[in-house]
């Protein structure tokens, strides 16, 4: 109990200190006006704090390094797991997704929280009971097999690595946007931030920094949302009563859908789409014509000494012009589809599964449910979350810890839809219907700095902003929220600090999972079982450094499509690990051979479906497979998980029965 009291005292002091720090910065800003230095302070001071915590928690003791000494109180482990869980995608992306897609975005909300029920019921207590260091270690011990261990390590590394690259990219993006450094330097800063937390102290350091990071990220999310809500007359706790605002948003949405001026904008888009279509129809002649027209125009401008800016503009357009008619076909088809999308009437936020006809609607519903299923199963099988429950003191404490985790995660997720509704209300009431001549300051800034995130153009030429004329990338909703609502710049800095904490904490957990799978499962159990514990910790630290550098290198390539890959990581984790983790505890008859076959089957089916249906891979390989039941590639786990279960069960039944030791071991796992 003494440790818990000490922890409560120090983290309360820390929270109060952080609040005072925000207040001071706010006063300074009120006195001196905003400046970019606020961005620097908010990005670097927290990193310095994490570094101090990391340094204080340094260790070379094996149990401390791998599982933080197994003495983390359940509430603190819940906080650390919540920080581990809330990634850059959750913090920056989720509210934007809800803002843009409405009901569809709820699949993420439900999937990412519902998964914790599975963790509490099916996984965490048993993982803690066996008291191993990693998840592959748990499976390898349960099946007394290095083949199972190796396969589990492979899938753990695979899904964690994809996820890790996305986090590092997120850190790079935040650094670029708020202090204006180069993307590569931003990634380097992120790398340093990640390493100071985990390099010296392993799980012990990561646990205590994650608690600190959770406090920062939750404060950074709740305070701005409360301030915006207070401004809109909802009071300081909008989570309870934003239904009132929702009603107003719904009536504004109806107006936007039916107003003739909005319809004229959409008609304009439809016309543009038709124009592009005629161009596509008359390929390749239209390609030659269009390119010729641009070249003539440029020559013309040059001859008449036209304005330099226009010349540069035109040169850029020519440089970006499709290489040949075949590429033009693809590029123009994309442009046409985008125009058609803009021409579609806006969908109200609360409407489930909008579609033009019944068949489309069923497809939409099917995809919603399968995404939901994949996300919850994936949540339950992500190794970096499950290992966290190894750090608790007992089985009962692991169970309680899952409850705490969902509590702390829910604090965040219950606020996300509030922000989405608030921002939609702000845009609908304070931007739409106002004159182009007096656009708010934030529009000018974001449009100028990040033209691909925000574009507003007077399409129908009436001088008034219409909803359909605003093209806003969902990713900017959270980052720009304080500016959209007219809060002081300190709040923007705070949000950036929160986003950074979310990305760093998740990256730490992932990095440690990968390095530990390599050092404990692959190196110690499969390469050199005689290694001393000193050597094991050293190897683990070296591997950690190596993995971090490699992941940063991959992130610096900025391959894009990362959001898809993050989703795919959930499907991968679910397909390969979920069936064996559950059957290994709940069905004594599961055999080693069954586990190996099931993991391979789950992985193969999942990867096969992604590679044969996802456009990026089909363009790469030139092979396009059928879409089973019209399911999107991101939800490939819907096929991988049943395949894993089926194959594990069938092969186990054919195999010899497990021996007395294994049956006794499973019995041992089942009881506290």
């Amino acid at each position: 109990m003494k440790l818990a009291h000490r922890l409560i005292r120090s983290y309360s002091l820390y929270t109060i200190g952080f609040l005072i720090f925000i207040y001071l910065l706010w006063r300074i800003e009120a006195a001196n006006g905003p400046g970019t230095w606020i961005g620097y302070v908010f990005l670097f001071l927290p990193i310095a704090v994490y570094a101090v915590i990391g340094l204080l928690s340094r260790t070379s003791d094996l149990v401390e390094y791998y599982v933080a000494g197994r003495r983390v109180p359940s509430a603190f482990n819940g906080m650390a797991t919540a920080a581990d869980w809330l990634s850059a995608a959750s913090f920056i992306g989720l509210a934007g997704t809800l803002y843009a897609t409405g009901y569809d975005g709820l699949a993420y909300m439900m999937g990412w929280t519902g998964g914790y029920c599975l963790v509490a019921f099916l996984l965490a207590p048993y993982v803690r009971k066996l008291a191993r260091y990693t998840i592959p270690d748990f499976l390898g011990t349960r099946f007394s097999s290095n083949a199972v261990r190796g396969l589990a390590a492979l899938s753990a590394i695979l899904c964690s690595f994809v996820y890790l690259v996305a986090q590092i990219q997120g850190v790079g993006l935040i650094a670029t946007r708020f202090i204006g450094v180069d993307f590569a330097i931003g990634i380097f800063c992120g790398l340093a931030g990640i390493l100071v937390c985990s390099f010296l102290g392993g799980m012990r350091a990561v646990t205590w920094t994650q608690v600190a990071q959770y406090i920062i990220l939750i404060v950074a999310f709740l305070i701005p949302v409360s301030m915006i809500a207070h401004k809109d007359g909802l009071g300081w706790v909008p989570q309870l009563n934003y239904g009132r605002l929702m009603e107003r948003v719904e009536s504004l949405e109806r107006q936007v859908r039916d107003a003739p001026s909005e319809q004229s904008v959409r008609d304009d888009y439809r016309m543009r789409a038709a124009l592009i279509q005629t161009q596509i129809d008359s390929l390749p002649q239209s390609y030659i014509d269009e390119k010729g027209r641009l070249t003539v125009q440029l020559d013309d401008l040059r001859r008449h000494n036209g304005p330099l800016r226009e010349i540069a503009d035109l040169e850029r357009r020519i440089a970006r012009f499709p290489r040949d008619p075949a590429t033009a076909q693809i590029v123009w088809a994309q442009q046409r589809d985008e125009m058609m999308q803009r021409a579609a009437p806006p969908v109200p936020m609360h409407e489930p599964f909008p579609a033009v006809n019944e068949e489309e609607r069923r497809l939409h519903l099917r995809n919603f449910l399968s995404l939901l299923l994949c996300l919850s199963l994936g949540t339950a099988s992500l190794p970096h979350i499950l290992t966290r429950y190894n750090t608790t003191t007992s089985v009962a404490s692991a169970r309680r810890s899952v409850g705490w985790t969902l509590f702390f995660v829910a604090l965040f997720y219950l606020t996300v839809p509030v922000l989405a509704v608030l921002i939609k209300y702000e845009i609908l009431s304070n931007l739409v219907g106002h004159r182009f001549s007096d656009l708010p300051q934030w529009v000018m800034q974001w449009r100028h700095v990040e033209p691909y995130l925000l574009s507003i153009a007077d399409v129908n030429g009436d001088g008034i902003v219409r909803w359909s004329e605003i093209q806003m990338q969902p990713d900017m909703v959270v980052l720009a929220a304080p500016e959209i609502a007219g809060l002081p710049y300190v709040m923007s800095g705070l949000i950036a600090a929160g986003a950074l904490a979310a990305a760093l904490s998740t990256a730490d957990g992932l990095l440690l999972t990968i390095a530990n799978a390599l050092s404990h499962d692959v190196y110690y159990h499969m390469v050199d079982p005689e290694a001393s514990s000193q050597k094991r910790v050293t190897i683990s630290k070296i591997l950690l450094l190596g993995v971090a550098l490699f992941a940063s290198y991959v992130a610096s390539l900025n391959t894009g499509n990362i959001l898809f890959l993050v989703g795919a990581a959930f499907s991968l984790a679910a397909s390969s690990l979920f069936p064996v983790l559950v059957l290994g505890v709940f069905w004594k008859r599961t055999t080693r051979l069954g586990a190996v076959a099931g993991m391979v089957a789950g992985l193969v089916v999942c990867i096969w479906y992604i590679v044969s249906t996802y456009p990026f891979f089909t363009q790469l390989t030139g092979f396009v497979g059928p879409r089973w039941f019209g399911i999107e590639p991101i939800s490939s786990g819907v096929f991988g998980v049943p395949a894993g279960f089926l194959v594990t069960v069938l092969v186990s039944l054919v195999d010899r029965k497990p021996d007395a030791y294994t049956r006794a071991l499973v019995d041992y796992i089942r009881h506290p």
Binding site: L98, C117, G243, E247, L406, A664
Partner: protein, 121 residues
């Protein structure tokens, strides 16, 4: 008891060796496990209803309102999360009771064993 598959070369965090189990203990274990599984099935059915059945019938519920929201939207945005949290809390509380019951049963069976052995002597 069958021999464990690993030798005891792991000195730190060794692979557990399941202790021998008497018939009475096995009965207590079986009861504990039955409670656990039944509880899990019941709670997961509720969770399944909230996650999958509600979206399935969302279009029929669209006009039902709750605190200003359309009901399906509220269920997805906040209701479901609160239900999940409740399910986990129920599970924690009931399992802690089951843990205590199991401990009592094990202690009772241990004294029974002791008495039996004393009587044999």
């Amino acid at each position: 008891m069958a021999a464990p598959h690993h030798t005891s070369r792991f000195t730190i965090n060794p692979v557990p060796e399941p202790p021998p189990v008497t018939a009475a203990m096995a009965r207590a274990h079986a009861r504990y496990w039955r409670i656990n599984v039944m509880l899990i099935v019941a709670l997961m059915l509720i969770g399944f209803f909230v996650s999958f059945i509600v979206p399935l019938i969302a279009r029929n519920l669209e006009h039902a309102r709750f605190a200003g929201f359309s009901l399906p939207f509220y269920m997805g945005a906040q209701g479901a999360i609160l239900v999940y949290l409740l399910l986990i809390v129920v599970y924690i509380v009931l399992m802690q009771r089951a843990d205590a019951a199991l401990l009592r049963a094990l202690a009772a069976s241990a004294t029974d064993d002791f008495a039996e052995r004393a009587a044999d002597r």
